[in-house]
């Protein structure tokens, strides 16, 4: 037994093994115990013995089905991330073939975050958020569009019009794929879910997508817009009954005009 470990207390060596495997040590104790077991075979053995049980405890919870919209949120982010990684690899290879041209980054506030974009040119138009009362007569208008790229290769970040107070949304478009990022959104309501729609012309009918989503407790969500963004003029979001709708049953709460 190693008596030099920082976690040693009145109970003697091994006393922290059980709370460790249950996740019940404080952060400081946890860190100290990790250091300790590096050199204490007794505690390692104790942890190994008790951890078998602790790892089985999750199944003691009543088994529920994960909400379908949760999968859409997770996989939307995963696909977007996979797409971003691919784009970054491509951009990296482009950069290495054009050294000396320099690099420009997307604005810090953009949903693209750290995504670097090369090129020049930015254009934007802005119209302030509408009040909730205007929701029924939602006037589709362009908010802010930032072209954070140039040369045809980067990411465009489009700030969408949102009819809900304190909420904001932006659409990132890169290599023909679009991702919607929302913040400060209220929950869609009991028995309802947000649904993403696309339009290929301003006067055309919204086409449903299979992107249904809810927002986090903080009102945030990241949603990949299914299909190619090429030819899409507008991306809209409405509140719909669970399972989504084939045609919008309510006025859009988010409208992003792509071009």
């Amino acid at each position: 037994m190693n008596a030099d470990g920082p976690h040693i207390d009145a109970e003697g060596c091994g006393g922290n093994a059980a709370p460790y495997v249950l996740g019940a040590l404080t952060d400081e104790e946890h860190e100290a115990f990790l250091v300790h077991i590096e050199s204490c075979a007794v505690c390692r053995e104790e942890v190994a013995a008790l951890q078998i049980v602790a790892q089985a405890l999750p199944v003691a919870a009543p088994q529920l089905s994960a909400p379908p919209e949760l999968k859409r949120r997770v996989m939307s982010s995963v696909r977007e991330d996979a797409h971003r990684r691919h784009a970054e690899r491509v951009a990296s290879s482009r950069t290495s073939s054009s050294e000396g041209e320099g690099e420009r980054r997307a604005p810090a506030w953009s949903a693209g975050g750290s995504r670097a974009s090369a090129g020049a040119g930015a254009w934007l138009r802005w119209r302030p958020n509408l009040a909730v009362g205007a929701l029924a007569a939602c006037v589709i208008a362009l908010a802010v569009v930032v072209l954070a790229s140039g040369g045809g290769g980067g990411t465009r970040v489009i700030r969408a019009q949102v009819t809900l107070p304190r909420a904001s949304a932006s659409l990132s478009v890169s290599d023909g794929q679009a991702q919607l990022n929302v913040a400060g959104m209220p929950q869609a309501g009991a028995g309802r879910v947000y649904e993403v729609w696309t339009k290929s012309s301003p006067s055309g009918q919204p086409r449903p997508t299979d992107a249904l989503f809810t927002v986090s407790a903080g009102g945030a969500a990241t949603v990949g817009v299914p299909g190619s963004a090429r030819g899409v003029r507008e991306v809209l979001v409405t509140s719909e009954p669970l399972g989504g709708s084939r045609v919008p049953t309510r006025a859009p709460v988010i409208v992003a005009r792509v071009s």
Partner: protein
């Protein structure tokens, strides 16, 4: 997992489909709020996606890896909450609304149901004082210090109950390996 390492979203989707119900069940059991449980599961899976290369097969199954990550995220979330928030009661009726649907069961699902029943039975068979500290720690996200304060018992007593309870569960579940009593 090799495909996940390479950033293939479809491979990750298979992992999500296999383990998301268990992950959500654990998160909801700990958080008692659907929105918070969803956030925890989302954070956990995205973390796993971004750190797939850190999965160490020698340290357990993918399921253990997933549920361990969910557990850690849920603890983080619970400890961020204020004392007032901790008083929140579970959302009533959500178990019924989200109960795993009856469907054709695979052998794996049957085995998992049996395993779940065995674990619950083993937990139920413990003396109340031992099962309580284990539940407060594992599912409640409380530290042993907080549990000691809550139950008005010495910290050493709480640690001892945790250890005894886990050791008994291990014996009940049929693992013949003795837990060291001399440490």
């Amino acid at each position: 997992m090799q495909l996940v390492y390479r950033g293939q979203a479809l491979a990750f989707e298979v992992i999500y489909d296999r383990h998301s119900d268990a992950a959500f069940s654990l998160a909801f059991r700990m958080c008692a709020q659907r929105a918070l449980a969803e956030d925890v599961v989302q954070e956990a899976f995205l973390s796993l996606w971004r750190s797939g290369a850190r999965y160490d097969r020698s340290r357990g199954s993918v399921r253990t890896w997933v549920l361990g990550t969910v557990h850690n995220r849920a603890i983080d979330a619970l400890r961020r909450r204020t004392a007032r928030d901790r008083g929140l009661v579970a959302e009533e009726g959500i178990e019924e609304r989200l109960a795993a649907p009856e469907r054709e069961r695979t052998e794996i699902e049957f085995a998992r149901r049996d395993e779940a029943r065995e674990i619950r039975d083993a937990l139920d068979q413990l003396p109340g004082e031992q099962s309580r500290v284990i539940e407060l720690a594992y599912f409640g996200g409380l530290t042993h210090v907080e549990i000691a304060s809550m139950l008005d018992a010495p910290v050493g007593t709480i640690k001892g109950r945790m250890r005894l309870g886990l050791a008994k569960m291990r014996m009940t579940l049929g693992d013949p390996t003795e837990v060291c009593n001399e440490c």
